[in-house]
């Protein structure tokens, strides 16, 4: 008999893939929970404000597992997590919580799950750390800490980067691209979610999710550019990167906000945020061996995935 699994944040990039993965698992009956009304969902669906503890408690009836894929601003994520853990006390379902490598802050070097959580990167990282703290209080939770989730249509680590590579705004960054690209394919995240729900040993554990032998950012950008045919790549010097973040990014951001307010449908070049360039330099390697061992994960081959992504763009 299928186990009912409630997926919070089911309309997001990871949530949609998790829904599909659960539906195809053969053992799960996933229920999508989202704020928006969707008329023709392929899956069972409920409309839910995830910060509403009462509504959550209602939704949890008969549910054996919950996957929390909510991506929002820090306060909303914390409010939703509080509501979830409180509401879940009644039935104590298994919860798989999607955290982030942001909980490690600006640490460098080889990072295992036992590394301290460091709150030094801003509101997003703070919220993720706070939620992990709440999760520890709840108990039967598996915390997944993915690095950079890439895959077809991944806006953050795939499509916008493809655009910048094609425009030669990114390329060989020199020292600015020496950080490690802790990439994890979205299907590997889905596999980790499924295994976390399925394997008793995952209970109460945290797992880094990043491909073994992840390249540095220069390596990722080159391999992606090669898959896209956006070669030869260009060496982007520090001057050009400064122009991107100091001179191009602020007016582009303002223009984008103004265009949205004025309801103008214009397409502006996407600015490269300074936070991204800081990450490109960060020499942090998530050690993924615990997830390989406990969850039985095998990482998607990067070049094969990039070829498929390039073909789909």
């Amino acid at each position: 008999m299928s186990r009912h699994i409630l997926v919070l944040g089911a309309d997001g990039y990871i949530g949609r893939r998790v829904m599909a993965g659960l539906a195809g698992s053969g053992w799960a009956a996933p229920v999508a929970a989202g704020r928006r009304e969707v008329l023709s969902s392929p899956h069972e669906r409920i409309r839910l404000d995830a910060t509403d503890q009462v509504a959550l408690a209602r939704a949890l009836a008969g549910v054996e597992g919950v996957v929390n894929c909510i991506a929002a601003d820090g306060d909303t994520m914390i409010a939703a997590a509080r509501a979830l853990f409180a509401a879940a006390e009644a039935t104590r379902p298994r919860i798989v919580h999607l955290s982030s490598m942001a909980v490690y802050g600006t640490q460098t070097g080889e990072i295992e799950e036992t590394a301290p959580l460091v709150d030094d990167t801003g509101a997003y990282g703070s919220a993720k750390i706070e939620i992990e703290r709440l999760a520890a209080g709840y108990g039967p939770v598996t915390v997944l800490r993915p690095g950079c989730v890439y895959g077809p249509d991944s806006p953050q680590w795939t499509t916008r980067i493809a655009g910048w590579l094609q425009a030669r705004r990114l390329g060989d960054l020199g020292a600015a691209g020496d950080g490690i690209a802790n990439l994890v394919h979205v299907e590997d995240v889905v596999a980790a979610v499924l295994a976390s729900l399925d394997k008793p040993r995952a209970e109460g554990q945290a797992y880094n999710l990043a491909m073994a032998g992840a390249p540095d950012w220069n390596g990722y950008l080159f391999r992606f550019a090669k898959a896209l045919g956006a070669v030869p790549i260009k060496r982007i010097g520090n001057r050009a990167l400064k122009i991107e973040t100091k001179f191009k990014a602020p007016p582009l951001k303002i223009a984008e906000i103004l265009a949205r307010k004025a309801k103008l449908n214009i397409s502006l070049p996407e600015p490269i945020p300074p936070s991204l360039l800081r990450l490109f330099r960060q020499d942090i390697r998530l050690v993924p061996t615990k997830a390989e061992r406990d969850l039985g994960l095998a990482w998607t081959d990067l070049d094969q995935a990039l070829a498929a992504i390039a073909a789909s763009l």
Partner: protein, 565 residues
């Protein structure tokens, strides 16, 4: 961690597992490769983050024949990053034949083969930022490339090999962050003057490190602003000298407190066999055919690396002709002679004062000034101003402002007229040498005296190669190569030894009577003193030395990791 010796108290002693002396391309590569090994690495760098006149002046010395060699404080930089801060960036590996004992090449033969270095070349390529380790045209490019010379078939030369150009990478700027964050200590303004041996003479016990007086408050904290020179000490389990092919013999020869002839010099080998390369520009190449008959420009690899084909003398020809290794490139006509009627070349004639010494030397030449010549150059520029303006824009965009710089001046000749630029192996010669002069520098170190020599064999390598090339061009019917065979020696020594390549002064070998270091780059008879860099190369090849020097440094890093448990 980047520290400054000027911030340390006088008399301070530092301990380390491995002390690397010299923070240039080789020392930095070695230190980076030792990261994560658990070894405590201390990198001593004489200079600071920028060029400093008084530190650079420590390189000054004498040259026996000033026409034959540039002053020792040129073509090398005593600062963090070393001479990579003025590097041209040309990279290519040594050829298999370079390692062979060749009976026609005196003192040739490495005690290791290419196979011993090969595993380290790919990482050396990455550190030098020249893309993947692939140096033939067919394998480096997915698309078939234009032939260098259409229809040129040669039994003696191949046009299939490549040279790849670095950004050029300034190792100081490029790897600063990695060196600052890793478990490595870099100590700036640290001049090693003393290598103090154990009484048995078989190990380095301690290094003396001196600073120059801190005139400008170069130290970061101000703690060291006493204005006077300081002396520090270093104790390390292993010491690696990576100070370049001129400074290594200087350090070895100047330290005589235990060994009367200097360290590693029981058999008077240190500083001898000094090789640069011989190089020159000669003759006129006339190619028949249309505009696509010749391709002398760069091909850009997917990584964005500028690659260029050249004419390389085949190894079987070298053996048959009993001559050294040799490469040649198609070059523009001599700049100073305005009869080329080329606006760009005449513009370069006028740009001479703004080109740095190291690059000016071979680009232009000094000669008697003549108004007629000057006016002819001016006429060339005025008449061809659109060409000159286009070239200026190209150099501004693709070289001056580019993060990866267009490597050299390429002039496409509409009339298919070129000169030939050649670069050849110099035979190891014990009479070509570096020794200590009678002067000392402000730190009390004897200054260098450079006595570079070439041999009849070096001239023959160039003469035979050029003759073979002329014959091959003629035979394949693609054009003509006219040059004066009697002028080869003059042209290859017109500017003296090729600048910046300092090879062979602490050569590798198995016999201490004929070499300074063993196959692990350890000084014969010393348990803990190693040498990294082109000083250990027993022969000079046609190849520029940086890539191989970095590869050998990586190999040494591996040895050190394995042998210092």
């Amino acid at each position: 961690m980047i520290l400054d010796a000027l911030d340390l108290p006088d008399g301070h002693v530092l301990d380390a597992d491995i002390c690397v002396v010299g923070g240039g391309a080789v020392g930095i590569s070695l230190a980076l490769e030792l990261r994560g090994s658990g070894l405590d690495v201390l990198l001593l760098e004489s200079g600071g983050e920028d060029e400093e006149e008084d530190t650079q002046a420590l390189y000054a010395g004498k040259v026996v024949d000033e026409r034959m060699h540039s002053p020792p404080d040129r073509y090398r930089q005593r600062r963090f990053g070393g001479s990579s801060t003025i590097w041209g960036g040309r990279c290519m590996p040594y050829d298999p034949i370079d390692f062979e004992m060749r009976d026609y090449m005196p003192h040739s033969g490495w005690p290791i083969g290419l196979d011993a270095i090969q595993p380290y070349y790919p990482q050396a390529n990455r550190l030098c930022e020249v893309g993947r380790f692939d140096y033939t045209i067919e394998t480096s490019f997915d698309q078939p490339s234009r032939p260098m010379i259409k229809g040129f078939e040669s039994t003696h030369f191949t046009t299939d090999t490549l040279e790849r150009f670095s950004c050029p990478t300034d190792f100081h700027i490029r790897y600063h962050e990695r060196l600052a964050s890793a478990g490595i200590r870099v100590l700036l303004h640290a001049n090693v003057t003393g290598l103090h041996l154990h009484a048995d003479g078989k190990a380095v016990e301690r290094l003396t490190v001196k600073t120059l007086a801190d005139k400008k408050g170069a130290g970061k904290t101000g703690a060291g602003k006493t204005g006077s020179s300081k002396t520090l000490g270093v104790r390390a389990k292993r010491v690696v000298l990576a100070t370049g092919g001129l400074e290594i013999p200087r350090l070895l020869l100047a330290n005589r407190d235990v060994h009367a002839n200097g360290i590693g010099n029981a058999h008077d080998v240190v500083g001898r066999y000094y090789m640069c390369h011989v190089a020159g520009t000669i003759g006129t190449l006339h190619f028949s055919g249309g505009g696509d008959a010749v391709w002398n420009g760069y091909d850009v690899s997917d990584e964005g690396v500028y690659c260029r084909r050249r004419l390389a003398l085949r190894p079987e020809t070298q053996r048959a002709e009993r001559i050294g290794n040799f490469v040649a490139r198609l070059h523009f006509p001599r700049i100073t002679d305005p009869r080329h009627n080329h606006a760009v070349l005449s513009a370069l004639y006028f740009a001479k004062p703004i080109i740095s010494y190291e690059y000016r030397k071979r680009l232009t030449e000094d000669g008697p000034f003549s108004w007629a010549t000057w006016l002819h150059h001016l006429r060339n520029v005025v008449l061809g101003w659109p060409d000159a303006a286009g070239f200026a824009w190209h150099m501004l965009r693709d070289r001056k402002l580019a993060a990866r710089k267009f490597p050299s001046i390429i002039i496409r000749s509409r009339s298919n007229l070129y000169s030939l630029d050649f670069h050849a192996e110099q035979a190891p010669n014990p009479e070509s040498r570096i020794r200590l002069g009678s002067d000392t520098d402000p730190l009390g170190m004897p200054r260098l005296e450079v006595d570079w020599r070439y041999t009849r064999g070096d001239v023959e390598t160039a003469e035979r190669s050029l003759a073979l090339l002329a014959a091959d061009i003629q035979a394949s019917g693609v054009g003509r190569f006219d040059y004066d065979p009697a002028s080869v020696e003059y042209e290859m020594t017109r500017y003296g030894a090729y600048g910046g390549h300092h090879i062979g002064t602490a050569r590798m070998g198995t016999d201490p009577k004929e070499s300074v270091v063993d196959t692990d780059c350890r000084v014969h008879g010393m348990s803990n003193l190693y040498i990294a860099g082109s000083a250990v190369f027993p022969t000079s090849s046609q190849a520029n030395p940086t890539l191989t020097a970095v590869a050998l440094a990586l190999r040494l890093a591996r040895h050190l990791k394995e042998h210092i448990a």
